[in-house]
């Protein structure tokens, strides 16, 4: 067979979203790839300029639909820096809990999608089943399964319902043995190792050259986790390890994500214990009522207090489940942010696609792209 271009996408089982991977192949060997993005470009940065600070949170959930709370957290940190507001401690712990549960949820979703890419059918169902338990927890205090709108500038919307922490512990106790089962299903199989070892190798120097972060960078042996390196929120209060592997291949990424879920469970146990012991306010005192109101007031009168805030630029970066996300919020004193710019980890990870795809087989593309964990929503924004 001579060389030819094939389009893997936008409707293709490999993509797990809406993007197009153009692949030049010779027989079954990949010669060149060209990711074509933008099929889900919804102009979130532009719409944010037209929205009030708290209204942007609505968009954040939809930016990355598998890690909505992490993106809320990202935006909130930047917005609070831009507006010079300090949230209460309990709110910070609640946000941390949200982010860690979201990390587990996102990684379970990744697991479900990834195993399908290598042809394992039933673990998809297992992953979705266990993810639903995490979503149930979210639902019990935010009211939604996926789009939460839980965090607010200056705190969080509401406190936990009674009995939540016990339920959370129950879910954590259920999850830990499940991780072992997942490992047995994947790592216990020789075929898995045959498929995934030494596949999609992206060395540490290549990662840094191409701006690749998150589990992909850590799978190459670089111990960089913003929660540890530059602790935001209250991550310096909790005790956990950074998951690292040194294969830089698909298996290593699998191991890193699995270990991250275990570490998240470890963090969550500490956070939940803290939340039990320390009741308190979840919204900063200095924030005017409209900022923390569960529903935006009707009409624009409520927004008049904006003038109290000085101009400023807020920058935040957090360790999102997919990697290192950054937000750059410019506050020009108006009721809307002047400019919001997000850095999506998936965007950078995908831009390096040529480096880790060329030279492998067509059949290797799904596992490699699965191990990258593509979330098109946050990539295209």
């Amino acid at each position: 067979m001579s060389e030819m271009w094939i389009n893997m996408g936008p409707q293709h089982p490999m993509t797990h979203g809406l993007w197009n991977l153009r692949v030049r192949i010779d027989g079954e060997t990949v010669l060149d790839v060209d990711p074509e993005m933008g099929y889900l470009h919804r102009g979130i940065e532009k719409i944010s300029e037209d929205r009030h600070y708290n209204e942007v949170i609505t968009l954040m959930d939809r930016t990355c639909y598998v890690a909505g709370l992490a993106w809320e957290h990202l935006y909130i940190i930047a917005a609070e820096k831009a507006l010079r507001i300090q949230p209460p401690e309990r709110a910070d712990y609640l946000r941390m809990m949200c982010e860690e549960f979201q990390r587990i949820g996102s990684h379970l979703m990744w697991y479900a999608a990834f195993v399908q890419d290598i042809g394992l059918m039933s673990p998809f169902l297992y992953g979705m089943r266990d993810r639903d338990l995490v979503l149930d927890l979210f639902q019990s205090y935010t009211g939604a399964r996926m789009t939460y709108e839980y965090m607010r500038v200056g705190g969080v919307r509401n406190d936990l319902p009674p009995g939540f922490t016990d339920q959370a512990r129950k879910v954590l106790d259920w999850l830990v043995p499940r991780f072992k089962e997942y490992d047995q299903l994947c790592l216990g199989s020789d075929i898995f190792h045959k498929r995934c070892d030494h596949l999609g190798v992206l060395s540490a120097s290549d990662c840094i050259r191409h701006g690749v972060t998150g589990p992909m960078l850590r799978s190459a042996g670089v111990k960089r986790d913003l929660r540890k390196n530059r602790p935001y929120s209250l991550y310096k209060e909790v005790d956990f390890d950074v998951a690292v592997a040194d294969g830089a291949d698909v298996t290593a990424r699998y191991l890193v994500r699995m270990e991250e879920m275990r570490q998240s469970v470890r963090i969550l146990r500490q956070v939940v214990d803290w939340l039990d012991a320390h009741p308190g306010p979840v919204m900063a005192e200095t924030v005017p009522r409209w900022m923390g109101a569960p529903y935006a007031p009707v009409g624009r009168e409520g927004y008049l207090l904006k003038r109290q805030y000085p101009k400023g630029v807020g920058f935040s970066s957090i360790e999102e489940p997919h990697g290192e996300a950054q937000a750059y919020v410019v506050n020009e004193g108006g009721e809307h942010p002047y400019r919001v710019k997000f850095r999506s980890p998936v965007f950078a990870n995908l831009s390096a696609a040529r480096t880790y795809l060329v030279g492998y087989h067509v059949a290797d593309i799904p596992p490699i792209m699965g191990s990258v964990d593509v979330c098109v929503g946050e990539c295209d924004r």
Binding site: G38, S316, L350
Partner: protein, 158 residues
Amino acid sequence: MQPADLERALAPKLGAGLIGVEPFEGMAGRVRFHREAALDLFRTVREDLGFAHLSMVGGIDWVTHREVFYVVWSDDANQYLVLSTDLPAEDAHVESASGVWPSANWHERETWEMVDVTFDHHPDLRHLLVPDGYVFHPLLRSFKLHEPEELEVKSRHV
């Protein structure tokens, strides 16, 4: 690393190209420079100061002028740094950073199509997020979103 340290390290290499280094919350500082010194600055920041990782490139339309900012981090110093330059709105172009940091490639494509800033010597300046042939630059302040009510009225007439 403090803004003063940065200024001391950068000033001899860049000379007049460096406007100054401002403090920035949560970062090593914010380096403001003239676009003529862009490539020198990138090289110095990457090779001499060790900021090997470019996180993002973004553009802001300040109506009178446009700003392009680069966020870079260094693993050794465990620090972020913002590089920013102001470009005149009618002639917004700056040297591409993708020769120094390959990761700038897509970010610059996005900035080009969103804020209409041309990056000279960019290897592959195509549309990334909006369809090919799209003539608008959505993140300019002059580009207005339509109001929902407006659209409602329109569709009712259609």
